[in-house]
């Protein structure tokens, strides 16, 4: 039912992409610079948790435009002159900002309600004023509506220059005040104690937001401008934890959205530029959300998967080691190789998962499968398993002796922590549990403070714990 999208001819594509038309050049340059400016300012707005304030500001500009128009008529100026309308928009945007601050400071309403009240009342007032203007005789009000949805295609050279000037202002301000804005965004209270004029900094950041919003009205309209401020900045945060990198990424993403969006809208019919620019930004956001290198869903899923895998491997190695230990205690043969069923009884894993883990370990040279299908350690696997088991038991002992946890309860707690212990931590654990003695290599490993499977009759006693910590009274498994 939708229109078939008319594919442009190669000639048309070339014309647009090579910016042969004056008009295309103006529009693409304007929207790109707007995107860059909005991306820069938006980074700080987002960090300051003021993303929706930009929505309120942009809606609050509408009555300003209408009032400016009426003032223009009353004063006999050209009521549609852009500087006049934008000045009105800026004044009311600022008023909206002040109103939000007043309501949240002067009443028990929370920020969200203050934003909502100001947004809707200012906007309603703007609609009512536009209603008056539209029915005025002789006042040609057509075009005022373009501020609601934007009217990129009719951007003039002067608009583009204005946007360029604002982008430059934003870049210079953010460059000069980068450290201050960062402080404001992360820890305003600390900034106050350091003697920074936090109030003024906040005001300048918000004024930048107002200015960017106002020049963006012409391009994407007051409903969609919030996307330019918020979305590139939000997308950039998936790529880095570093503020400077995020800042530049946001600027680049914003610029790209403006550029790509306006180009697309020139190429294809029936594609309103404002909406297309926003949709391009949104697709950048979706891509970043999924594939961002630091916070992206795929990256996080992958690192979680790797963690799970590492933990499971360590569990498997320890299970094999402890199984061998228990079998030796009971004198069962063969003690050093195990069937899959034996291993499964140790862990709540599916058989498929166990096989996957075993084959993974085999691939990395930790275990091998013998002719009867039993699994045993390689040299390397034995060393690794011994280390892992020692870690586990050291931690169990620590919990029993210093955290007062019952021996029957330490296994699980140790299970959770053992995988994240690093070498220095382990060294300190050993030193503490063994009375500052360094652990000699090839020394017998610590005994488990509790019964191992298959059930061994000896429950852990104070004696085994004590002997384990001093490193005596253990037979060498080798």
């Amino acid at each position: 039912m939708l229109h078939n999208i008319d594919m442009p001819t190669w000639d048309e594509i070339a014309r647009v992409l090579l910016l042969r038309d004056y008009n295309t050049r103006v529009v693409v340059a304007g929207t790109t610079m707007l995107g860059v400016a909005a991306g820069m300012v938006g980074t700080f707005l987002l960090l300051r948790r003021r993303a929706l304030l930009s929505d309120t500001i942009s809606h609050a500009t509408l009555p300003g435009i209408a009032v400016a128009f009426l003032v223009g008529i009353a004063a006999g100026w050209n009521p549609k002159s852009l500087p006049l309308l934008l000045a009105g928009a800026a004044i009311f945007g600022g008023l909206g900002m002040v109103a939000v601050a007043t309501i949240s400071a002067g009443s028990r309403l929370k920020d969200d309600a203050a934003l909502g009240v100001v947004l809707s009342v200012f906007y309603a007032a703007g609609i009512a004023l536009l209603g008056v203007i539209q029915k005025m005789e002789g006042a040609n009000a057509a075009g005022l509506n373009s501020f609601i949805y934007g009217k990129t295609a009719s951007m003039l050279m002067s608009d583009s220059v204005l946007i360029g000037a604002v982008a430059l202002l934003a870049a210079v301000a953010c460059g000069l005040l980068f450290k201050e804005f960062a402080l404001l965004s992360f820890d305003a209270d600390f900034g106050t104690t350091q003697g920074y004029p936090i109030g003024w900094l906040d005001l300048s950041l918000m004024s930048l937001a107002v200015v960017v919003t106002v020049v963006g009205l012409q391009a994407v309209g007051l409903i969609l401008i919030v996307a330019m401020l918020v979305v590139p900045a939000a997308a950039a945060r998936f790529w880095s934890h570093d503020l400077r990198a995020t800042f530049f990424t946001a600027a680049v993403l914003g610029g790209l959205s403006g550029c790509v969006g306006s180009t697309l809208s020139t190429l294809f019919a029936r594609m309103p530029a404002g909406a297309i620019i926003v949709l391009v930004t949104s697709s950048f956001f979706i891509v970043s959300l999924l594939f961002g290198t630091t916070n992206g869903l795929v990256a996080r899923w992958w690192s979680r998967r790797r963690l799970t895998r590492r933990v499971s491997r360590q569990h498997l190695l320890r299970s094999m080691f402890e199984l061998a230990e228990a079998k030796q205690q009971h004198g069962w043969e063969p003690a050093r190789s195990h069937t899959s069923a034996e291993l499964l009884s140790h862990r709540a894993w599916t058989s498929a998962r166990l096989q996957r883990l075993l084959h993974g370990l085999e691939h990395d040279g930790f275990v091998r499968e013998d002719a009867e299908g039993r699994w045993e350690f390689t040299q390397r696997g034995e060393v690794e398993a011994r280390k892992i088991t020692t870690n586990h038991r050291l931690w169990e002992l620590y919990l029993i002796m210093y955290a007062d946890i019952a021996p029957s309860h330490v296994d699980r707690d140790a299970d959770m922590i053992e995988h994240v212990l690093d070498e220095t931590m382990l060294e300190r654990l050993r030193a503490r549990l063994r009375g500052e003695e360094p652990l000699p290599s090839h020394e017998p490993i610590v005994a488990s403070p509790h019964a191992l499977q298959p059930e061994s009759p000896t429950a852990p006693t104070v004696a085994t714990v004590a002997s384990a910590t001093t490193g005596h009274g253990q037979e060498d498994l080798r």
Binding site: R49, D112, G116, A125, I148, R237, R270, L289
Partner: protein
């Protein structure tokens, strides 16, 4: 009706009725949005339903009420879900997540409208402004009576909301005020969040073909926020929000057809004016709410300062009389400069002296100095007694050093609670002299 206002009982009556129905059904749900600190969700959802509306039009090719309601509920849920995904799994702050989701959806809606302009009788302007003025012209005949279609649609939405709020009042209350407690009691807070969002979307869709999304946003937030300033009880807040919403509809329409004419223009958009009327009521509540209003708190503070200044004047005269050895505090004339010094601020001094003179506590002598009347003397005596008893209490019961008690007593003396004074009397055993060995008046 004056002749200069074009008024038609059928048309204007229905405009107000439809406006009020929309406003009330939005405000009803809005109470819970405001309490849950999710006011901007209303803004988000009312923008985000646009693509849903277009798609529903495209699929069914009709504007049937059922299709619209189902489409709305789906879009509402989807929006809430997407926001949740972006903010929880993407770890984006919730406000920014809302911004990302609703603006993207709105842009998608605009694109769809342009792409399908020939098939869809949907004007983005109409989505925003609505066409409340034309709503009474689209009539349905029900039981032999002609009723505007939008009155029926909004009536249904309003009924659904009322039933929801009445049936689940307890759950809504708990999940709004303390979601953790709700979870602990086995009430699924998450489920109520999503149902609330779906209903918000449904109300939005029902409302905005007649009144436009702007009025929806305003009515979801402004009447409940206004009511929130006026009361501390949930039920009163809900009732107040309904009254405010209905009043906004009446005042808004009246304003739309009269106000511009007063300035020599034609009439204007009713939806916009309803929003403005609600805004005016909000401003009034913000300033003049009995307990939390800005002006009320200001008055309260000025009164308090005045009380303190009056006590300072009384105490200053008493001490002056004591130091000069005059037979009684009423017999001494205190120069204005002394009193101004005790009060601290010249303007406050003039004000409080004028007030005390009016209350016949002070008299002004010919030379410009002041002396206490019998009534003023009585007040001063009580005040000094309180001050010195407090000093005694602080020294003997609290263990403060005698040279440190004056400042604290100075603040405590302004406490004007008879039961505290009585307790103080009995706790100190009504001594004759204070720790500085000055007499304590009876």
């Amino acid at each position: 009706m004056p002749a200069w206002i074009p008024w038609d009982w059928f048309i204007d009556g229905w405009i107000i009725a439809i406006g009020a129905l929309c406003a009330m059904s939005c405000a009803l749900l809005g109470n819970f949005l405001v309490l849950r600190r999710q006011s901007m969700m209303g803004d988000a959802i009312s923008h985000a339903v646009l693509p849903g509306l277009v798609i529903a039009f495209l699929i069914t090719g009709s504007r049937s009420v059922t299709t619209m309601f189902i489409g709305a509920a789906v879009v509402g849920l989807l929006t809430a879900l997407l926001i949740q995904v972006v903010s929880r799994h993407g770890r984006v702050e919730e406000g920014a997540a809302m911004g990302v989701v609703f603006v993207s959806l709105f842009a998608l809606g605009l694109l769809l409208i342009r792409q399908a302009a020939d098939h869809v009788d949907l004007d983005p302007d109409c989505v925003i402004y609505g066409a409340l003025e034309l709503a009474p012209l689209d009539l349905w005949t029900i039981m032999g009576r002609e009723i505007p279609r939008s009155a029926i649609v909004n009536g249904i939405a309003f009924l659904i909301n009322v039933v929801f709020v009445v049936l689940f009042s307890k759950e809504l209350k708990i999940t709004s005020f303390d979601p953790d407690l709700a979870d602990a009691q086995g009430i699924p807070a998450g489920l109520f969040h999503y149902v609330l969002m779906a209903l918000t979307a449904l109300t939005t869709i029902a409302a905005f073909e007649s009144v436009g999304s702007i009025l929806v946003i305003a009515m979801l937030i402004v009447p409940p926020a206004t009511a929130y300033l006026l009361t501390e009880r949930l039920w009163i807040m809900i009732v107040l929000s309904q009254v405010i919403a209905a009043a906004a509809a009446v005042l808004g329409h009246a304003g739309a057809i009269t106000l511009p004419r007063l300035a020599g223009f034609s009439d204007t958009n009713t939806s916009g004016m309803i929003g403005v009327a609600a805004g005016a009521m909000f401003a009034a509540a913000f300033l003049f709410a009995p307990r939390h209003g800005v002006v009320s708190r200001l008055i309260h503070r000025v009164r308090l300062r005045e009380d303190i200044a009056r006590d300072d004047v009384l105490a200053a005269i008493w001490r002056l009389a004591e130091r000069s050895g005059a037979p009684g505090p009423g017999s001494i004339a205190a120069p204005r400069a002394t009193l101004a010094e005790a009060v601290g601020s010249p303007s406050m001094t003039s004000w409080v002296l004028w007030r005390m003179r009016r209350r016949r506590q002070l008299e002004r002598l010919a030379d410009g100095s002041w002396h206490l009347t019998a009534r003023g003397e009585e007040r001063a005596r009580r005040l000094i007694r309180k001050h010195r008893l407090w000093e005694d209490y602080l020294v003997h019961e609290v263990g403060v050093r005698p040279d440190h008690v004056h400042g604290t007593a100075e603040r405590l003396e302004h406490l004007d609670d008879p039961s505290v004074t009585r307790e103080l009397d009995s706790a100190t055993g009504s001594p004759e002299r204070d720790p500085h060995d000055r007499p304590i008046p009876k």
